[in-house]
Structure formats: structure tokens, C-alpha cells
């Protein structure tokens, strides 16, 4: 069988539905591609061909029985933060090096119900803390376009695997930009839905009020298909939105005439690399040609996003990661004298430096006497930023800007300076703080660095279908998303 490894989800689905290919054949194809290409990329932490092939066979059997499902037989790889019953789930950490999940996350279940076949578990920054995939206990992930560069983070494996054609699609999670920034670095389309659209149940928590699951794919059309499968109310997640299932593909073909694009002046300042600003400007021209208008808006409080984020995220993480104490699962130190010593040693050995840094920051900001000054203030800033967006949406339908101020960088370029690293998420973080949906789609190359540029689209709450429509129309008119690395 010859199979175009860069087939989109939509194309794959079509081929499967036309019985030109079976789920088992596809699984075998991608598993073989993983075994040949992955050693250079390190995008996967775990593969289990036996499990994958049995899942594929089960989906083929569903089809044979006449069952219909939207993505019957389409392969998917999951960020190693999603629990899958019986699969090792590491979260990129030594702490969970040998942890086998006893249940499956709701998103994984939803995707399996939709017919998708798990190819494996994808590398990531440890506990999703990082912007370059350099904090993983299982080693860095290489950017398939340039092996000396980072793929972005924290969902680095999710981005690299799709970009390299190791899987047609993957899942990621986005707490501060962990889907959108790697999507830009690897020239992919990635979407972080509105907070509460995808269940968080069974996804290892980093910062509970910010975490949201979302898809990586080559196109917005694919993201719409994937999100339709992932999303939905889940009674196991109290923050899940109780609303009917949505077909996120429904508006894809709408023309963009009349679309009002808001351009926050705060997203086009000095911090943005000139080559990126230029690519974004050119992409906006395409949008104007498609019938959209642009209007300048202001988000005066968005400049507080990074400081607010680095209070909220570590605070919640410091508490969320308390359960990794060596008592019931995960890494337990060998020699300890008593229970406190067991905690100290197990956590000191099990967590990496970035995770420890954030636990320390989080513990500090929640300490007695500091809570009001930090966590409470950060909460107020979140509301102020949301107010800014609310005002902006009075004059525009979506907000656009560059996904990150600079493109994929060399390994080690920022790993010694956490603040520099944190600033790479300066544009993406605000959507996590407010809970709004946001996505990144390929829109060109920074001519100075040769690195890809992502267009960041932030939408109003639950406006995913419109955002996907916007990106899809752009992709119908452009070729950026069709570029593939030579591997």
C-alpha cells in the first residue's frame, strides 16, 4: 500500500469511508513511519503497536458491522498528559516514568468513540511546564524543519509528530500557549477551545483554571473535525460547559465578506521580530482581499498577562502536583527515614528543575500573607483583561496578531533564562487567563530567520466555529499550510 503520509484528516477520513484503505493499514503505515523517523525527532515517548493494531482492528470491525462514526479508523497520537487506560502515561516526568493509567480521559474516550485509533503517546515538557520541550525527562523533541531548533512547547511532540507526517493529527493541551506556539514553530494549525469545551477529566492537571485540551493538524478543516470529536459536556468535570454537542465544521465554507478583524496595538509593538510583523501584515492583506476589514483595538491590560499568569499557573500547579508524593503511585525514593523524608526525596528525585521552580513560586505566592498580594490581584487582572476583550468585540468579530514574538529558536537559546522563555508566550497567555478560544495557523516565514510565522486568532467565547471558518477561508487562498519538511 502506498499512502501519502501528509494526507489530512479530511482526506484520510474520505479514503477510509471509500474503503480505499483500512484502519489497520493506516496504523501499520504510521507505526512504521514512527519507527523510522521518530529516533531523529524524539516526538513519541511510548508506542505500543500491539495495542494500536488491536484498536485499529476494532474500528475496522465497527465499519464491517455497518457502524458509522465521524472519524472511523483515523489515527491520532495523544500528548502524554492524557490518561489512556492501560497505557503508560508519563507527563514527561521521571515522577511518572512507570505509571500505567487505570482509566481513560474523557477526550480520549470521545475520540475513540468517534473511531480514532491511538498511535502512541507524545513527548512534552515535564508536566506541560515549558515553551521549548526542553524540560522533558525523556529528552528534547527536535523541530522536524530544523533539527537544531526547538519545536515549541509544551506540546512539542504533538507538533513535531504531525509536522513530520508521523500521524495525521494529535492532541495537545494549552495552559499558556502550549498548542498555539508549537503550532507556529512547526507550521501547523492548532486550536485551544473556550475553557470548558473539552473535558479536563483524565488530563493531568497543570493549572486547572487555565488548562484546555485541543487539536493539532495541518488545516483548520481538520481541527474542526477533531474538535467536534473531542468536545462535549462531561459530568466528571465540574468546569465542563453543559451544552449540546456542536458541529465545528458547519461554518467552514462561509465567505469572509464583512468579517471585522480587531488588531490590538499591544500585539504589534517593539517586541515582535520585524520578519514576523511583516509576515503577519501580508497575511492580513490576504484577509482584506477575502472581504474582511481590519480595525485597531486596544487591550490596555493585556500587558499584565505574563505576570498574572506566572502567579496563577504556579499557584495552582503547586497544589495540583501535591498528589505526586510517592505514596500511592509514581516515583518513590529508595532510602528514606520517615514519611516527611519520603516526600522530600521522592519529589526531589522525581521532579525536574522547571517543575520545582514553579512549585516554589506557587507555594510562595499562596503563603500566608502573600495570597492577597499575588493570587487575589492576579484574579482581578484576569477580569480586567476579559473586560478589555469584551470592549474590543464591540467593534470586531475576531482579534488577530502574531502567535509568538519570535519563531523557533535554537536549543539552549533560552533555557538558562526563565523570564526570556516565559516572554515567548506573551501573546498566547491572555486567552488562557480569560478562557477565550484561540488558534494559530501558518501564515508565512520570517525572512530574517527563515522560521515559520503563525497567525494568532482570538475569538469571543464559544466562537470556535467562526474562527475555524476564518482560518479555513485563509487556507483555501494560501499554500503555507501545505509545506512539509524533507525527512
Amino acid at each position: 500500500m502506498s499512502w501519502n503520509t501528509f494526507a489530512t484528516v479530511a482526506e484520510t477520513k474520505k479514503a477510509l469511508d471509500a474503503k480505499q484503505v483500512s484502519a489497520v493499514e493506516l496504523a501499520k503505515h504510521y507505526l512504521s513511519r514512527v519507527s523510522s523517523i521518530n529516533p531523529a525527532l524524539n516526538a513519541f515517548i511510548t508506542i505500543d503497536p500491539e495495542k494500536t493494531l488491536s484498536e485499529a482492528l476494532a474500528q475496522d470491525n465497527r465499519r464491517a458491522k455497518g457502524e458509522a462514526a465521524p472519524l472511523l479508523g483515523v489515527p491520532i497520537a495523544h500528548k502524554d498528559i492524557y490518561l489512556i487506560d492501560g497505557w503508560r502515561t508519563t507527563c514527561g516526568s521521571k515522577m511518572l516514568e512507570n505509571f500505567v493509567a487505570p482509566y481513560s480521559s474523557t477526550v480520549v474516550k470521545n475520540m475513540a468513540d468517534a473511531g480514532m485509533v491511538t498511535l502512541g503517546k507524545l513527548n512534552m515538557d515535564e508536566f506541560a511546564m515549558g515553551s521549548s520541550n526542553e524540560t522533558s525527562y525523556f529528552g528534547t523533541v527536535k523541530n522536524p524543519w530544523d533539527l537544531s531548533r526547538v519545536p515549541g512547547g509544551s506540546s512539542g511532540g504533538s507538533a513535531a509528530s504531525v509536522a513530520a507526517g508521523l500521524t495525521p493529527a494529535s492532541t495537545g493541551t494549552d495552559t499558556g500557549g502550549s498548542i498555539r506556539q508549537p503550532a507556529m514553530f512547526c507550521n501547523l494549525t492548532g486550536l485551544k477551545p473556550t475553557y470548558g469545551v473539552c473535558s479536563r477529566y483524565g488530563i493531568i492537571a497543570f493549572a486547572s483554571s487555565l488548562d484546555q485540551a485541543g487539536p493539532f493538524a495541518q488545516t483548520a478543516e481538520d481541527c474542526a473535525l477533531l474538535l467536534s470529536a473531542m468536545a462535549g459536556f462531561d459530568p466528571h468535570d465540574a468546569t465542563s460547559l453543559d451544552r449540546p454537542k456542536e458541529d465545528y465544521s458547519r461554518d467552514l465554507s462561509k465567505p469572509l465578506k464583512g468579517l471585522r478583524i480587531g488588531l490590538p496595538k499591544e500585539f504589534f509593538g517593539d517586541g515582535v521580530a520585524p520578519g514576523i510583523a511583516k509576515a503577519v501584515d501580508e497575511a492580513l492583506d490576504v484577509y482584506r482581499k477575502l472581504g474582511a476589514t481590519t480595525v485597531e483595538v486596544s487591550l490596555p491590560n493585556v500587558k499584565y498577562s505574563v505576570p498574572a499568569y506566572y502567579v496563577v499557573a504556579p499557584a495552582e500547579a503547586s497544589s495540583n502536583l501535591s498528589r505526586f508524593d510517592g505514596a500511592r503511585f509514581g516515583h518513590r525514593a529508595k532510602d528514606y527515614t520517615d514519611i516527611v523524608d519520603m516526600y522530600k526525596r521522592s519529589r526531589a528525585e522525581g521532579f525536574g528543575a522547571e517543575v520545582k521552580r514553579r512549585i516554589l513560586i506557587g507555594t510562595y505566592v499562596l503563603s500566608h500573607g502573600y495570597y492577597d498580594a499575588y493570587y487575589l490581584q492576579a484574579g482581578k487582572l484576569r477580569r480586567l483583561i476579559a473586560e478589555d476583550f469584551k470592549k474590543a468585540y464591540e467593534v470586531c468579530d475576531v482579534v488577530m496578531g502574531p502567535t509568538a514574538p519570535e519563531g523557533a529558536f535554537q536549543f539552549g537559546a533560552k533555557s538558562d533564562d526563565p523570564v526570556k522563555m516565559y516572554l515567548n508566550d506573551i501573546f498566547t497567555i491572555c486567552a488562557n487567563l480569560t478562557g477565550q478560544p484561540a488558534m494559530s495557523h501558518p501564515c508565512g516565514v520570517d525572512k530574517d530567520t527563515g522560521q515559520f510565522v503563525g497567525m494568532h486568532i482570538i475569538g469571543n467565547y464559544l466562537d470556535e466555529a467562526r474562527m475555524l471558518n476564518v482560518a479555513h477561508q485563509y487556507q483555501l487562498a494560501t499554500e503555507w499550510h501545505k509545506k512539509h519538511p524533507a525527512l
Partner: protein, 504 residues
């Protein structure tokens, strides 16, 4: 110097929901270790809590019963600390905005005086698991069956001034939560446990002394002993010139002493913050109204109604209204058309004595309310005199139980055993049959009584002489002989009257 004792209580009341507060696991007591722990209770990665509305309903019920403010929007917070029986590394509790604020409870002391105990708050939280140290060598076990059991922590202001007041409050609270059917009150199983904050200060001093908190008292007896010991100890310390150090202490029932567990210096910083996994707990109007409509009549208003409607004394009314089972027994009997005052007399007299003698609760009474009602009706209509009625009661007490339950007039009985009773005769038939079969019926026929009186008088010349010489006692002796001659069945009032008449 005279010392004043200052006490405040924090009581952990386990709510009667079938499943845990944030997971679907069962809350039943006594299962094999860790068999009632889901991925949520085990704090598996990725697991999330979901609020059990039943726990919130019970908290609202409590708040309404004590006249408190119900926060329609309360917030769950995380209390962070490491301990093996706390699987998440934090306990989900309520901190800044609890579901219930204010309100209070009136307690009655032994001397009959009453005092209003103000409550600070009552908040929802999850229980921790249990560490098991005894069964393992050099290791500890953890049982997470209890982890996630819903608790309502009820906190008083420091308004109690003696151990007696504290016990009276704890008992009143224990009674109330069972009355409301929000807690089974089982102290041995830990369903109701108290932390007691104790301090002392010189009489007249305004500032509070430094307090020590006695943790986890699960019997009223231990509570009394612990407070007594702690108060004595604190006064001795101060009188010896030492300072009290704020501390958490444990009471050892074997030695009767309290021992410091940790002092304020090593007190933990719990780093409370709102739990981002749980949206604010909202009690909407529909839920609030439904709970309000389902509130049972509470002891205070019941007591007033008994005095008003049934003309009972305050003392009797209070005794009959104080716990739900007693009041249900009473009202069931009264609803069966028995005279309320007589029912009250029999319940608080003979029945209560029999129950006490056999250390039975009213729920365990072999006499059912309908039976007592019929007995009282037969006394009132002259069929039985008191003596025979007592015999009947004794007979019913020892007779094979006719039924293990009785009809309730109120919803949600606390002790409603399943009505799986074999078909039987109606109670009325039973009672009347017994009266008939045992020949307990009173003789009220004047002719019949007169005949016996005449026979007795004919043999009682000495007593008659005594009576006529002014010895009133002699009359009682004659009446007693008549009663004896009638095998106790003669109507005593008629006998009395007749003897008097014949001797006048």
C-alpha cells in the same frame, strides 16, 4: 483567684449522603480497606471532583434550622498539606465563603436555665482517609474508604463558660442533626466528633486567655473528662507562673490526660485558595424553596405547640419534643385519638421507666404508639383502671413482638425500619382481646361493687371502728381489701365513694 473558662467547639458532622461529597463512591462504614475509593478518592492523576448536591442540601437544612444566613453562592477552597491519608495533598473545604454563617442553638442546662449558643459558621468539606499503624511492622497502612466522606464542620463562637455548657451544646447539636436526619449521630463510627477549644482567664478579664484545642473527641463522657482535665491543667500552669502555649492536644481516655500534639510554632500554613476544579456552589431559589418546604417541625416549635394545643406542662412538652423518635411516638399515639395528657403521662411514666430499666431507646420499644393509644383510650373510657392498665402494659412488653415498626406521621423517619412484618390482627383487636382474655376489664357495675363492699365490711369491724374514731388510714385499708377481693378489677373511685357512703 477565680478563673473563668472559655470554650468554643468545632464539630465535624458526617452527612448522610449515600455517596461521597466529590465522587460516586459509597460512604458506608466498615468495608474492607480501599474498596470504596474511586480514582477521585485515590487522587489519581487527572481525576476531578464533582459536587454531590445532597451534601449541600443537608447543609442548607442545618442552616435553616439554626436561623443562620445561607450563602447562596459559597466557595470551595483547597487546604494544602501533606499527609498519607490526604491523597491529593490538599483537603477540599470552604474557607472565606462558607455555605452557612451565623445562627445559633438554645441549650438547656441541668438547673433548667437556657442559654443561646451563637454559631460562627458551618462549612462543607471532605473527610480524610485513615492511617493504620497497628497491623504493620515498621510500616503504616492507609485506608481511603473514608476519604471524601462529606462533613459539615460546625463552629461556635467562644461563648461557653463551663464544660457543662459545652456538653449541653454538643448534645443539643447531636440531637438536632439527627432530628434533621442529616447525620446518623453514630459517635463510635466517627459520624459526630468534636474539637474543643479551651482557655481560661481571671474572672472579670476581658481578653481571652491562650487556647489549646482538644482534637477529635467522640464521646460526651470523654469530652467532659478532657475539658475537666484541660481546665485544671491550664489553671495550674498559670498559677505556677507558666504561660499557656497555643497548641493542638489529644485526649488519652486511658490516662484521662491531654497531651500536646503540635504547638503554634509548628502550625502549618495551609495556603488556602479557591479550588479551580469546582465552580461556586450555588443554591438557587428552586432548591432553596424545596429544602425549606421539606423542613421538619423543630423541637422548639414542637414544644410550644404541645403546650398550646395539648395543654401539656412545659416540662412534659420539652421532654416529648426533644428528640424526633419520642415526638413521633407521641404524635402517632395522639393521632390515634388518645388523650394527649394521658399519653404524655404514660410515656414519661411507665413506658419511660420500662425503657430505662432495659436500656432501650424509644425506637426499640416493644410497645407501639398505637397500642399505647388504645391502652390510654381504654383507661379513659373506664374499661381499665390504672393498675390493670399497668398489667396490660407489662403483658404487651413481654409478649412476643407484634411488629418491629410503627406508623409514622412525619416524613423521613430516623428509625423507620422496613415494614416487613407478617400479617397480623389489628392493634385494636389485639388490645381488646388481651383485656378480655386476661380478664383485666374494670368492674364499674354499682351492684357488683356494692356486693363486694358489703362482704368486706362485714369482716372489717376493727377497721370500721378505727375509721369512725378518726383514723383516715383505715378507709384506705378497707378500700384496698375491696380491690383485692375484686382481683384488682373494681373501679377504685367507685369503691372509694361507696365505702365512704356506707360508713358515714
Amino acid at each position: 483567684m477565680n478563673w473563668e473558662v472559655v470554650i468554643g467547639l468545632e464539630t465535624h458532622v458526617q452527612l448522610t449522603t449515600a455517596s461521597k461529597i466529590f465522587s460516586g463512591s459509597s460512604t458506608a462504614f466498615g468495608a474492607a480497606p480501599n474498596t470504596q475509593a474511586s480514582v477521585v478518592d485515590l487522587a489519581m492523576p487527572g481525576a476531578l471532583p464533582v459536587m454531590n448536591k445532597g451534601a449541600a442540601e443537608r447543609a442548607v437544612k442545618f442552616g435553616l434550622a439554626i436561623g443562620a444566613n445561607i450563602n447562596r453562592r459559597s466557595i470551595f477552597a483547597r487546604k494544602n498539606y501533606f499527609y498519607p491519608d490526604l491523597p491529593k495533598g490538599y483537603q477540599i473545604s470552604q474557607f472565606e465563603t462558607p455555605i452557612v454563617q451565623g445562627g445559633g442553638l438554645t441549650i438547656t442546662l441541668d438547673d433548667g436555665s437556657t442559654k443561646f449558643i451563637e454559631l460562627t459558621r458551618a462549612h462543607l468539606e471532605e473527610d480524610a482517609g485513615k492511617s493504620v499503624h497497628e497491623q504493620f511492622d515498621h510500616e503504616s497502612g492507609v485506608d481511603l474508604n473514608r476519604a471524601g466522606t462529606p462533613l459539615l464542620e460546625i463552629v461556635t463562637e467562644p461563648v461557653m463558660r463551663s464544660g457543662k455548657e459545652a456538653i449541653a451544646y454538643a448534645k443539643a447539636l447531636h440531637n438536632l442533626v439527627r432530628y434533621l436526619d442529616i447525620c446518623d449521630g453514630n459517635m463510635q463510627e466517627g459520624s459526630f466528633r468534636c474539637d474543643v477549644n479551651v482557655s481560661v482567664r481571671p474572672m472579670g478579664q476581658k481578653e481571652f486567655g491562650t487556647r489549646r484545642e482538644i482534637k477529635n473527641l467522640n464521646s460526651f463522657k470523654f469530652m467532659q473528662q478532657a475539658i475537666d482535665y484541660e481546665v485544671r491543667w491550664q489553671i495550674e500552669q498559670i498559677e505556677d507562673g507558666k504561660k499557656i502555649v497555643q497548641a493542638t492536644v489529644l485526649f488519652n481516655p486511658d490516662t484521662g490526660e491531654t497531651r500536646a500534639m503540635r504547638t503554634k510554632e509548628d502550625a502549618m500554613d495551609y495556603r488556602y485558595f479557591p479550588d479551580p476544579d469546582l465552580p461556586p456552589l450555588v443554591i438557587d431559589d428552586a432548591m432553596f424553596d424545596r429544602i425549606k418546604a421539606s423542613m421538619p417541625e423543630l423541637p422548639e416549635s414542637k414544644c410550644a405547640r404541645y403546650m398550646n394545643e395539648f395543654k401539656l406542662s412545659e416540662y412534659d412538652a420539652r421532654l416529648l419534643s426533644q428528640d424526633r423518635a419520642t415526638s413521633e411516638f407521641f404524635e402517632t399515639a395522639v393521632n390515634a385519638k388518645a388523650d394527649p395528657k394521658l399519653v404524655a403521662n404514660w410515656m414519661l411514666g411507665e413506658l419511660s421507666a420500662s425503657l430505662n430499666r432495659e436500656e432501650k431507646t424509644i425506637e426499640q420499644s416493644p410497645i407501639r404508639p398505637s397500642q399505647l393509644a388504645k391502652l390510654v383510650i381504654r383507661v379513659a373510657d373506664g374499661t381499665l383502671n390504672n393498675k390493670k392498665a399497668k398489667e396490660l402494659l407489662d403483658h404487651l412488653w413481654t409478649a412476643p413482638p407484634i411488629a418491629a415498626t410503627f406508623n409514622m406521621t412525619l416524613p423521613a423517619p430516623t428509625f423507620g425500619l422496613a415494614a416487613t412484618v407478617a400479617p397480623r390482627q389489628t392493634e385494636e383487636t389485639d388490645i381488646d382481646d388481651v383485656i378480655e382474655a386476661k380478664g383485666l376489664k374494670q368492674i364499674s357495675d354499682v351492684g357488683a361493687i356494692e356486693k363486694i363492699v358489703d362482704e368486706v365490711l362485714a369482716k372489717s369491724s376493727a377497721q370500721i371502728a378505727d375509721y369512725k374514731s378518726g383514723k383516715e388510714k383505715a378507709l384506705m385499708s378497707i378500700v384496698g381489701m375491696v380491690m383485692k377481693a375484686s382481683a384488682g378489677k373494681a373501679n377504685p373511685a367507685q369503691v372509694n365513694e361507696l365505702v365512704k357512703k356506707k360508713l358515714s
